[in-house]
């Protein structure tokens, strides 16, 4: 019993991390049809800059962590918005080339991060409570999982509120449904593009700081490895669906944890098999729009 609780809650924690990456990917794809390979780099730069800030303030205190998270989100948003503005926008409506540009950016930025921060992982210090465990139903659960879950839920609620109750949220939702119609109504969708990139980048940058706490280190490849699972999550959840991304994040992460524990560390393979199964039975994903 305690093992199952442990696996479930750690699965939710990992799922929270996946969601922070996948939410941005899914929104960007839904609105613009761009598969953003540079999303992992937004996460990595958020993690690195956040770590630099926390290190300079005071290592291991709560307010340094809060500052790091804020900085990570802001840096992620700025870098993402700049990417959209300077690179993606130039290739308006040429989706394959947009993907190629983000691929180039991902390759170049990872190399740059390696040049600046080195190829070895940089270990981070976080508040001591996060390194301890709490007991729930007999399971000893690392405390940082709780923080991940809470932050991801806050992000989910914030994005949903933004989409539901603001003018730009309305434009984005309408744009996901039918971009051509929104343009025809005389609304400049391109500003919404930059905004969606900024939101996705902020979630990823925040995810970067949280990932550095989850793994205990920052490295230039931290974003790339999470990105692949985030891709799988977005496909399983249905491209362009935020709710789908949230559900699929948790499903994928929990499946991964259980397979890792009960089937001898085959979590990654189980996830790929799940993806294959979803594609065979329901190619548009759990909550995806009809193709």
């Amino acid at each position: 019993m305690s093992t199952i609780v442990l696996l479930l809650i750690t699965g939710f924690g990992l799922g929270a991390l996946y969601f922070l990456v996948a939410s941005g990917l899914s929104l960007i794809y839904g609105l613009m049809g761009v598969l953003n390979f540079a999303h992992g780099s937004f996460l990595t730069i958020g993690a690195f800059i956040g770590w630099e800030v926390a290190r300079r303030l005071s290592d291991g205190s709560w307010w340094a962590l809060a500052a790091a998270m804020l900085t990570g989100a802001v840096v992620g948003a700025i870098v993402a918005a700049a990417t959209e503005f300077f690179l993606i926008r130039r290739l308006y409506n040429r989706h394959i080339e947009q993907v190629l540009v983000t691929v180039g950016l991902a390759l170049a930025s990872v190399a740059l991060f390696e040049g600046i921060w080195g190829t070895d992982p940089t270990y981070v210090t976080s508040p001591s409570w996060l390194g301890q465990t709490s007991e729930i139903l007999g399971a000893r659960i690392p405390n940082n999982r709780f923080m991940l879950i809470v932050v991801a839920m806050l992000v989910l609620v914030a994005i949903v509120l933004f989409l539901k109750f603001t003018r730009y949220g309305l434009i984005i939702r309408a744009g996901v449904e039918n971009r051509l119609m929104v343009t025809a109504l005389g609304i400049d969708v391109r500003r919404a593009f930059t905004l969606v990139f900024a939101i996705g980048g902020a979630a990823a940058g925040l995810g970067g700081v949280l990932a550095s706490i989850y793994y205990g280190y920052v490295s230039a490849h931290i974003g790339g490895s999470l990105l692949i699972f985030a891709f799988i999550v977005t496909v399983i959840g249905g491209l362009g669906s935020l709710a789908g991304a949230a559900i699929a994040s948790v499903l994928v992460a929990v499946l991964q944890q259980f397979a890792n524990f009960y089937l001898g560390g085959t979590g990654d393979l189980a996830v790929v098999l799940a993806l294959a199964a979803v594609l065979l039975l329901r190619p548009r994903g759990l909550l995806g729009a009809k193709a």
Binding site: E97, L107, A111, V272, L280
Partner: protein, 365 residues
């Protein structure tokens, strides 16, 4: 038209002949090759570039011809390299002479590539476009994980796999025989080129090209594109496995790096750098990329770079940063790639527009 075909064939034959004779000549191009052309170092680099070119050609079959943006092609290259290593270690029937064992092992490896690609393709091709890209990426990631896990002690995990030379002909072993390995790589490249040419001109090639342009129309005519696409996917996988097998022989080992999705991204960079949709583009892109990568790595370790201030030193000491930036610039400003550039200077407008159109058409998927 016919005279142009004759000229093309003659020029190609002359180029291949030059490449065949290269190990016997003493040509030095400082800044491009590490030494004269007969030295093992230069031959090794050229052979490596040619194998990457063969791999890029097989990728061209998917992306350029069929318009399928796959992010999992490295899987089949790795299957070739690891497959041959594992087959050579475990397959030694007493009834076959030593030389025949080697040939049979290579055939088995290519078959493994074909079967694996057909299996992966049969699932991934159920979706198209961006979903297809992501699914192939997921399969490649799974392959990469399996290779690193070292199942049954066969793949060597992070260390990689070392070639077991007991069944490999002596002529293909050792630094002194780099020349033979060079010729082997050239033979692989020419073989792959001819197969790709044949596939492009075949009925299946026309069908996938038509599907790339307008899938609905192909369906209306009454052809189901799924199986033809699957066939092309399988052939591309087999060709990649062949290149991978030669890669294992050339490097006398293989590291898990070739199984990573990053390696496929490199492949995509090469094909786009050379020019999408053009066979020569893939070859040119591979050779330019490999040589640039090698020279930039040499440059990164030089005294000149070490003496620069941090702001310049850090970006310049990362070859992948320079190549990635170059790639972005090519995508933004040079839609036809390098091959489009050479054509553009010769005959203005037409070819570059064609390259651009191809990119637009592929995008529809």
């Amino acid at each position: 038209m016919r005279s142009r075909t004759v000229i093309t064939i003659t020029a190609s034959a002359a180029l291949v002949l030059l490449m065949v004779l290269l190990p016997l000549l003493n040509i030095s191009i400082p800044g491009v090759f590490p030494g004269p052309t007969y030295t093992p170092g230069t031959l090794q680099l050229l052979a490596y570039a040619m194998l990457i070119a063969a791999l890029a050609l097989s990728y061209h079959l998917l992306f350029g011809l069929a318009g399928m943006l796959s992010f999992g092609h490295a899987l089949f290259f790795a299957a070739g390299a690891y497959g041959l290593g594992i087959v050579l270690r475990n397959f030694s029937p007493s009834w076959l002479p030593a030389g025949a064992t080697f040939v049979v092992a290579i055939l088995i490896t290519v078959l493994i590539g074909f079967v694996l690609a057909t299996l992966v393709g049969s699932v991934s091709l159920r979706v198209t476009g961006i979903s297809f890209a992501m699914v192939t990426l997921a399969f490649a990631q799974a392959g990469s994980v399996v290779v690193r896990r070292n199942p049954g002690g066969q793949t060597g995990g992070e260390e990689g796999l070392t070639l077991d030379v007991s069944h490999v002909p002596d002529a293909l072993v050792g630094v002194l025989n780099t020349r033979n390995l060079y010729w082997l790589a050239l033979a692989v490249l020419v073989t792959v080129y001819l197969v790709v040419l044949w596939v492009e001109k075949s009925r299946a090639g026309h069908v996938v090209a038509a599907t790339r342009e307008n899938e609905l129309r192909v369906r209306v005519i009454g052809i189901r594109p799924y199986f033809v696409r699957l066939l092309i996917f399988g052939i591309a996988g087999a060709l990649a496995a062949l290149a991978g097998a030669a890669f294992l022989l050339l490097q006398s080992g293989v590291s898990p790096r070739v199984a990573t999705p990053d390696f496929t991204l490199t492949l995509l960079v090469i094909v786009v750098l050379g020019g999408v949709g053009l066979r020569w583009g893939a070859v040119l892109g591979a050779i330019v990329y490999t040589l640039l990568d090698q020279r930039l790595t040499a440059l990164a370790g030089s005294q000149f770079i070490a003496g620069l201030p941090d702001l310049l030193r850090i970006p310049l000491s990362q070859p992948l940063f320079i190549l990635g930036t170059l790639f972005i610039l090519v995508v933004l400003f040079l839609p036809g790639g390098l091959a489009g550039l050479t054509k553009r200077t010769g005959r203005p407008h037409r070819p570059s527009r064609r390259g651009r159109e191809r990119m637009l058409e592929v995008e529809e998927l």
